[in-house]
């Protein structure tokens, strides 16, 4: 991640330059595709406005992550614990994945209002499944010789779960978290599109309606940067915590 940073910067610069060239060559009007300079100006001129709305979106994303990950971890442990709960929940989980979460957004807004609630629930719903399924998978794959050792040592099931299966499944949880970090902003923004009075998604819709496409792009770029930073943070933290859980 850290070593690939210069490469990413280079790619970023190349994209910005081609973008500017494209806009100049095609002589695109600013209300269709503003150039990077126009977007940078819009970002600078609306810094306070964008920062205010970015903070709202960030809170929605982080709250959604905390609740979604907690719920995913809890459901995975319960499913790994009891085979009868597993038999009950597994089809339900698969069914839940067949529901297009996007289509639920208006209903969530109806139920949880225009504020933080509906966005957090939306984010939670989107990241719950990847976390639950990755962690559950890890919990069901504890090395059989470790489990047998625990059996010989007369370990009660509760302690086998929390002192053996859960730590052994940490790498699986990490891959679930890495996916969740990428999905979480999508949930928050969709929630804002359907109905909100604050947030980057709201700001994008507002700017679009007023033909302020440069502002819309500025908000979009802030959202992209936020997502990438979030992903990098989760990656670094999970690597640091997990280095000792990974079998060598």
């Amino acid at each position: 991640m850290m070593r690939s940073f210069p490469k990413m910067m280079l790619v970023g610069v190349a994209v910005v330059i081609s973008w500017q060239i494209l806009v100049m060559l095609l002589a695109l009007p600013v209300y269709i595709l503003p150039g990077p300079i126009a977007v940078a100006l819009a970002l600078w001129n609306n810094l306070a406005l964008i920062a205010d709305n970015a903070l709202v979106t960030l809170i929605e994303i982080l709250a959604g992550l905390v609740f979604g990950v907690s719920l995913g971890v809890a459901v995975a442990i319960i499913m790994a614990w009891s085979s009868s709960v597993r038999a009950l929940l597994q089809p339900l989980l698969i069914f839940s994945q067949a529901i297009p979460i996007f289509a639920l957004a208006p209903i969530l807004t109806l139920w949880f209002g225009y504020g933080f609630g509906s966005k957090i629930v939306m984010t939670l719903l989107i990241i719950f499944f990847p976390v639950a399924s990755a962690f559950f998978d890890g919990l069901m794959r504890t090395r059989s010789d470790w489990l047998e050792l625990a059996q010989i040592m007369r370990a009660p099931p509760f302690r086998v779960m929390f002192f053996l299966k859960v730590p052994a499944a940490m790498p699986s949880l990490a891959s679930g978290l890495n996916i969740a970090a990428v999905y979480a902003p999508i949930g928050a923004v969709i929630g804002e599109w359907v109905g909100a009075s604050r947030g980057l998604g709201y700001l994008m819709l507002l700017a679009n309606g007023r033909a302020k496409i440069d502002l819309m792009f500025a908000a979009l770029i802030v959202l992209i940067v936020m997502t990438m930073l979030l992903r990098a943070a989760v990656h670094v933290i999970s690597n640091k915590v997990l280095s000792r859980y990974i079998q060598t």
Binding site: R143, D145, W146, E148, L149, A150, Q151, I152, M153, R154, A155, P156, R159, V160, F163, L164, P167, A168, M170, R244, Y245, I246, Q247, T248
Partner: protein, 243 residues
């Protein structure tokens, strides 16, 4: 901790296939019973049955101890894989049993056992910083920490190099002293050095051999060890030819 003698009587099958025909296996109290035989003859199955683990077979028979009490919770197990948990330190791995049972671990005893296996000063190290031989020593300390009168060993030394293997055999002979041990091994020399009773398992059943009567652990270069190992090797060689 009184070490019992163990007897397994019966047969094991897997579907329509017989894993082993009706047999009687005896492990005398306080001795090293070495179990040899070609791969797939059912040695590990027999050991897993003794350990009370799922052996993937249907066992028709009985496992009993000469003191009348069940073998159950009195056996500890050591395998070729050291089974160290990578997220726990060496000391935490040695005290894993207490941790998994929710008991308070005897740190003093664990540290003493680490000294005994030659790993003084390694308590806080993580498993991935150890060599294969050192890891297996940690596994030995963990097994001893459980302090069970019966030790079931399934090729615990076979992944080690010759020098480490000899060292581990000597260490185990000293530290397991007085316990009833069943050792599954492929190595005739190991059986010749450690065995107080040697059993060769074939498709035809069990054959009990008389190892040298000198006390264990025997020197690997003593004539009776070499002679007995050669005899075992010949027997195993002929057996695998016949199979």
């Amino acid at each position: 901790m009184k070490a019992p003698a163990i007897t397994l009587k019966g047969s094991a099958s897997f579907g329509a296939d017989q894993v082993f025909a009706p047999l009687e296996f005896n492990a005398p109290a306080g001795g090293w019973t070495c179990l040899l035989g070609s791969s797939g003859v059912g040695k590990s199955t027999l050991l897993r049955l003794l350990a009370g683990l799922d052996a993937g077979v249907i066992f028709d028979g009985t496992i009993s101890c000469n003191d009348g009490a069940p073998l159950g919770a009195r056996a500890a197990l050591m395998l070729q894989s050291d089974m160290l948990l990578p997220w726990l330190s060496v000391l935490q791995n040695v005290t894993l049993g207490a941790r998994l049972r929710g008991e308070k671990a005897d740190q003093v005893r664990a540290t003493q056992l680490l000294n005994d296996v030659g790993l003084a000063g390694f308590a806080q190290r993580m498993p991935n910083t150890l060599s294969g031989g050192q890891r297996q020593r940690v596994a030995l300390a963990r097994t001893l920490m459980e302090d069970r009168p019966v030790m079931l060993l399934d090729e615990p030394f076979s992944a080690l190099d010759a020098k480490n293997r000899a060292a581990m055999q000597e260490l185990s002979a000293r530290l397991f002293n007085g316990r009833t041990i069943v050792l599954v091994t492929h190595d005739p020399y190991e059986a010749a050095r450690l065995g107080t009773s040697v059993v060769v398992m074939t498709k035809a059943g069990l054959q009990v051999l008389k190892p040298p009567t000198t006390p264990v652990i025997r020197a690997y270069d003593s004539p009776d060890v070499i002679k007995f190992a050669t005899k075992l090797l010949t027997l195993l060689h002929n057996e695998s030819d016949a199979a």
